[in-house]
């Protein structure tokens, strides 16, 4: 795909909208990564329906599932946060726009980190 930025903008990693190209690429790359992850998770969710506490813990705590779950939650929250930023840029303005976008990023970071800690605790027993 062509890089349509000016040399200076490319050197700074910026597009016409300050960080447009970087944001755009991150949205697509996370989307591609999420294709297998979301399919895997949806199938797992269906298979796990009705499972009891012990089964769910054993599943979350197995090494491969731990890695895939962390990727699904982490990349999912990141992609969602990037997407919600675009939505907010369409509907909000001024100071409120900044407040909303920062709030969304903050919530995504907190939930992502808390989920990773929870998964590691289940896997390594704590």
């Amino acid at each position: 795909m062509d890089d349509r930025r000016t040399p200076l903008a490319r050197a700074r990693g910026l597009g016409s909208a300050k960080d447009g190209v970087g944001h755009w690429w991150a949205q697509r790359l996370t989307a591609i990564a999420l294709i297998p992850l979301v399919v895997w998770f949806a199938v797992s969710l269906v298979m796990l329906s009705g499972a009891d506490y012990a089964t769910v813990r054993a599943w979350i705590g197995s090494p491969l599932v731990m890695v895939l779950l962390i990727l699904t939650i982490g990349i999912g929250l990141h992609h969602g946060q990037l997407g919600l930023q675009v939505v907010l840029e369409d509907y909000t303005d001024g100071a409120w726009r900044v407040v909303w976008i920062v709030l969304v990023k903050f919530i995504a970071a907190v939930f992502g980190l808390a989920a990773i800690v929870a998964i590691l605790r289940i896997g390594f027993g704590g």
């Binding site: 506490y53 929250l77 997407g83």
Partner: protein
Amino acid sequence: MSVVNRPSNRPLSPHLQIYRWQLTSVLSILHRATGIALSVGALYLATWVMYAAAGPRAYALFQDFNASILGRIVLGGWLFSAFYHLCNGIRHLFWDACYGFELKDAYRSGWIVVAVSLLATVLSWIVGLRLV
């Protein structure tokens, strides 16, 4: 006459009362709606592992909610949103790579997205939510 003062008899579009619904625009709005729903869903997913880590008593509360009518709607809604956004997201990625821009192709891929995501949703509801 300046551009600003020229009398405007051009239609103002989109005019909501006479707006003609089209597959393409509906699917586009649905991509945004399911994206927002999935973002909330990702928080729900994070909450799920936190409850699982917090012990059997806490997890029982979470399971009770999932088994309730509201819980079924959340889980069923997540499955539909995931399948739809996934299929239509792939359609978006083809556009980004400059494929399928002709109107005819946009309609055809649109109907494929509708068919595949509805099929996957119904299957997952039957198996996962035990609806039959």
